[in-house]
């Protein structure tokens, strides 16, 4: 048994899986770095009250007219985006983003060739997808902070931004940590969907040993072995989020 762990084949497989998992982590990190702020933008957008024709609203108007004049384009657009993205599979979005531009553009596919092009397309699809999920979590978090908190800040002469950063933000963060940690752990596993465009992440690397890679073929255990990478990484994330939750336990 011990000799297996020091065999050439084991070392080769682990090396290949490490390389694959590095790509997994890269996609994970880039997605988070993009989706966390983009999600905030989308959540503000969907809460936007901007109604360019709002001045035409009047008391006692027919409800249909009121709805037309009160139309909020930014909010409507953001909600439409969230509905479409959350209502369709990430795999389909990835396929569309990666393949469709090349089919309809005269200049051919806009993505660079090889792994870097696949990574770029995957990153864009993942960021967009996760930003939409995050935006709904943020929106719930922001709206769950009682209005009285804002009013208390206003009465004390605080500015809107002082209220956001000094009063609302931490309460919102505390409330969104549990749903965010769920989404983020799902993201770790979802990165494997990028295999559909042959991104060379860890599952791709494990599967390769079945078909033939590094001079080996018909090996089934490397694929099972990839599960250990996910387990360890998600275990670490779970510990991390548990720590953050405990850090915010001092208030209710």
């Amino acid at each position: 048994m011990l000799s297996f762990f020091s065999s050439d084949v084991f070392r080769t497989v682990v090396g290949a899986l490490n390389t694959g998992f590095l790509q997994t982590l890269r996609l994970f990190a880039v997605t988070l770095a993009g989706a966390i702020p983009l999600g905030l933008l989308i959540s503000f957008g969907s809460m936007s009250r901007w109604a360019p024709l709002g001045f035409l609203c009047a008391e006692g108007q027919h409800p249909v007219l009121r709805a037309i004049w009160g139309f909020r384009p930014v909010s409507a657009l953001c909600r439409l985006l969230v509905w479409v993205i959350r209502g369709t599979p990430l795999m389909l979005q990835l396929i569309i983003i990666f393949f469709i531009p090349g089919m309809i553009l005269d200049s051919g596919s806009p993505w660079p060739g090889g792994e870097s092009g696949r990574f770029l397309a995957a990153a864009i699809a993942f960021i967009l997808n996760y930003a939409c999920y995050f935006s709904e979590i943020y929106r719930g978090g922001i709206q769950s902070v009682p209005l009285g908190q804002q009013e208390a800040g206003l009465v004390l002469g605080m500015t809107r931004s002082q209220i956001f950063f000094k009063v609302t933000l931490l309460q919102m963060v505390k409330r969104i940590i549990p749903p965010m940690s769920n989404e983020i752990i799902t993201l770790v596993k979802d990165t494997s969907i990028a295999r559909i465009i042959s991104l060379q992440e860890v599952i791709w690397a494990g599967y390769a040993f079945m078909k033939g890679s590094h001079g080996y073929s018909g090996l089934w255990w490397p694929l099972l072995f990839t599960g250990i990478y996910y387990l360890i990484f998600n275990g670490a994330l779970t510990l991390f989020f548990g720590w953050v939750e405990r850090r915010l336990d001092y208030f209710r």
């Binding site: 006692g60 009285g148 206003l154 009465v155 000094k166």
Partner: protein
């Protein structure tokens, strides 16, 4: 010279008129109690004074200076409202303390933020300022009988203690007029006493106050003036003793008799 002059305040939400022709004035150092049944517009009036709602008509003057005139947009510039709010303090029915801050931090947050804005230009003496602000916060908490609770978070305090922290927080900015919106309505009966006692103490120190309350005996004993509101209008106003014990209006009498029964 009255410290506060409210003239013909009017407020509607859509088609419903919630405040109509509200006028009163308040002398410095006096306490005004506002009584009235549910939905009569008491909260809305306090919210108008604190610029949380914008009246549709009327004027508000502090120390003879008009700070709001519904007919004059120059008095309604959003940029000035923040400063104008500081004439008033507001203690909410449900406290609205900031849960992530200790009792002391709740009291001093606004002072620290103001100090930071002032100090943006001149950095020197900042630590001394901070210490002085915390000292002031501790004094206010002591005045509320909460010296031993300065480091507690709101969820570690009883309702009565939370409301006293909220009062200290509102006092920190030294408003000209301190408003209370039913400060004891969210409290268990055994906790109302400690909050009323603190407000009584403020009255004895001649803090200018407007107190919306359902505690009639408290209004009679602590307030100098009483206003009875019904359906968005002032039905009766006058010296506290007189309005509560010998009301002139039939509606006031009916309202008060409901309290006499139980």
């Amino acid at each position: 010279m009255p410290i506060l002059d409210v003239h013909n305040i009017e407020k509607h939400f859509g088609a419903t008129r919630v405040l109509d022709d509200i006028s009163f004035s308040l002398e410095a150092g006096q306490a005004l109690a506002i009584i009235g049944s549910s939905g009569s517009g008491k909260t809305t009036l306090l919210r108008c004074l604190n610029f949380l709602e914008k009246p549709n008509g009327g004027t508000i003057a502090v120390r003879d200076k008009v700070i709001f005139d519904a007919a004059d947009p120059a008095t309604q510039r959003p940029a000035d409202i923040r400063e104008k709010r500081l004439h008033f303090g507001l203690v909410f029915q449900n406290f609205n303390l900031f849960p992530q801050y200790t009792a002391l931090q709740n009291v001093t947050l606004s002072l620290h933020l103001r100090d930071k804005e002032d100090a943006a230009g001149r950095r020197a003496g900042k630590d001394r300022h901070k210490a002085a602000i915390d000292q002031r916060g501790l004094e206010l908490l002591a005045q509320m009988g909460l010296s031993d609770r300065a480091g507690h978070y709101p969820h570690q305090l009883s309702g009565g203690q939370q409301q006293r922290v909220a009062i200290a927080r509102a006092l920190a900015l030294q408003p000209d007029v301190l408003c209370f919106d039913e400060p004891t309505s969210a409290l268990d009966p055994e906790l109302t006493g400690e909050v009323l006692k603190v407000i009584r103490g403020l009255a004895q120190q001649h803090t200018t106050m407007i107190i919306v309350t359902h505690e009639m005996a408290f209004a009679r004993d602590v307030a100098d003036q009483v206003i009875f509101m019904d359906g968005g209008v002032i039905v009766e106003q006058g010296p506290a003793q007189q309005v509560i014990e010998h009301p002139a209006q039939e509606r006031t009498r009916q309202f008060l008799s409901r309290y006499a029964e139980n």
